[in-house]
């Protein structure tokens, strides 16, 4: 299976976008070799600003550039892009609606060995709480590049969450991303898994296992958490009658909370949630951590069986 990291295609597409649009500028908080914005920095040194270890300042600088007509990409690790500068995101970007794209890498527990301080697992809750922000979690490297292209051409503040490790491709090269439109990546009528990011591939794996056990499981990639494709959620609830939400994030405030609000309002059905619950993880290899924290295909399959049993 082909594996490639979402941050890698981000770094490369940014250079392509920079060639087309001279108003694109890129900021980074001294992590550009890791966030992959260094490709842009090498190609367009005049339009690249290393803001040093100043995440709060970086958000304000981004806002100032955006208010002066620039399309600004600002990158750092997801944990710093969310928790470290939340008030700046709120006042400078959410309140103003300025054209800044926060593309954060190394999100979730799959950052691995660096441990709790570096594992952004509350970022989706924080960003989704900000009025006016568009929040995207690509499922693979192809979708990441597509989402970044769309963000570059759509006015307003965006948060795009990327991962550190190489992850399996869910899509083929001809995939085209539509903002705010959920993608059914596998059909199925007995239950549905609504997933984001690395959990989409895990959900597909789970669906394969379930198929052998006679359960026909649909898989939805809810790449855009905000604005949420409520219509798709209502349709899924009506059609399959049992939903599991899977995300590499804490239990509260992420995709699970958001989908549950819609299901409750539109079509209540049995639900289950695969997430990091209400606790931090620990150091370890990405796959070890996913196993320890209950974020494997097996965990998803078990959850699907439990909701199917409640139908």
């Amino acid at each position: 299976m082909v594996e490639i990291s979402t941050r890698e295609t981000y770094g490369k597409i940014l250079v392509e976008l920079g060639k087309e649009n001279k108003d694109i500028v890129v900021l980074d908080a001294d992590l550009s070799p890791s966030t992959m914005t260094h490709f842009f920095g090498q190609e367009f040194p005049h339009r690249f600003f290393n803001c040093g270890l100043e995440e709060q300042n970086m958000i304000g600088v981004a806002a100032g550039l955006a208010a002066s007509g620039k399309t600004v990409f600002a990158s750092t690790f997801a944990v710093f892009a969310s928790c470290r500068c939340f008030d700046q995101l709120r006042v400078c970007l959410s309140q103003t609606g300025l054209n800044v794209k926060i593309v954060a890498t190394h999100a979730g527990i799959t950052v691995g060995e660096d441990g709790i301080s570096h594992q952004a697992i509350e970022d989706l809750a924080l960003y989704c709480s900000l009025p006016g922000f568009t929040v995207i979690v690509p499922a693979d490297a192809i979708e990441a590049a597509e989402a970044v292209k769309v963000a570059a051409n759509t006015y307003g503040p965006f948060y795009i969450r990327l991962s550190r490790p190489k992850t399996p491709l869910v899509y083929s090269e001809d995939y085209r991303f539509t903002l705010g439109k959920a993608v059914t990546v596998r059909q199925g009528g007995d239950a549905a898994v609504i997933a984001v990011g690395i959990m989409v591939a895990k959900a597909l794996e789970a669906a394969d296992v379930l198929a052998k056990q006679g359960i026909d499981c649909r898989v939805i990639n809810m790449h855009t958490l905000k604005p949420l494709d409520e219509e798709a959620i209502g349709r899924v609830a009506s059609e399959v009658g049992a939903i599991v939400v899977a995300e590499e994030h804490l239990a509260h405030g992420g995709l699970g909370s958001r989908v549950a609000q819609v299901v409750t309002r539109m079509k209540p059905v049995p639900m289950s949630f695969i997430n990091l619950k209400d606790r931090y993880a620990l150091s370890g290899k990405a796959e070890e951590l996913l196993q320890r924290c209950g974020l494997t295909a097996k965990d998803i399959a078990e959850a699907v069986k439990s909701v199917v049993g409640k139908k």
């Binding site: 500028v25 040194p45 005049h46 339009r47 600003f49 803001c51 040093g52 100043e54 709060q56 300042n57 970086m58 958000i59 304000g60 600088v61 981004a62 806002a63 100032g64 550039l65 955006a66 208010a67 002066s68 007509g69 620039k70 008030d87 700046q88 709120r90 006042v91 400078c92 309140q95 103003t96 609606g97």
Partner: protein, 288 residues
Amino acid sequence: MSNQIKVFRQASPQANIFNLPVTELREMAKKLRRHIITMTATAGSGHPGGSLSAADIVTALYFKIMRHNPQNEQWANRDRFILSKGHAAPILYAALAESGYFPVEELTTLRKLDSRLQGHTDRNLTPGVEMSTGSLGMGLSFGVGVALAGRLDHRDYCTYVLLSDGECEEGQIWEAALSAAQFKLDNLVVIVDCNKMQLSGWTQDIMNLEPLGQKWQAFGWYDIDIDGHDFSQILAALQEARKIRAKPIVIIARTIKGKGVSFMENNVKFHGKTPTTEEAKRALRELE
């Protein structure tokens, strides 16, 4: 790096439409102070003390120094003014109204439901307001971005950021100060309205900032220390600031909180409390 870009200093494409002589600046500052009293007394909440202390600086900028045009609010070459100490919104609103960005009559809608004049500045609502502020410490970072954009686009506008001294307690100010020096932003001028007081008392008793000029200097800035109520000093400093190259400029303006109204001067009560109807009458008499 950004400093490799050649900066083209263009001749001003349009004469400054506000160029009052000093005697008229003094009258204008008084007028703006009267607006501050009326606005905050009418609103019943707000921050008159730090608005009054900044009145002379803001007057000098809007009615003498800055290149701006209320008829062409988004003019790409306009000088930018960013009120980082967003609680002093009344002085900015007064200056904008007197410049012609919106009717002077609108000033008394300050802080009222559906008013364009929010308690703290909002760039999406008020004509002429460059940035939404209110959470202290953020305006300078925004100014760094605006100044960088000016250089990228080869525009010769200047970005002015007004801070309060208490605001310099925010760590982000020093992040921004480092970056402005790193990027050699000589098109960025900070004025610190150093009124020596903050919400609960004297700044030196709460979190001492002195020697403030030396701190900025150590961060790579060109610093100028002035009496922030003396127009000759304010104008000289702002003119000197535009001649400095390869460094950002900070003007430490020594001011008096509540300046212009005897019973409000150096009175911490008026940081975040407005004059009563009776007090407002007395204040307006003093400002005639």
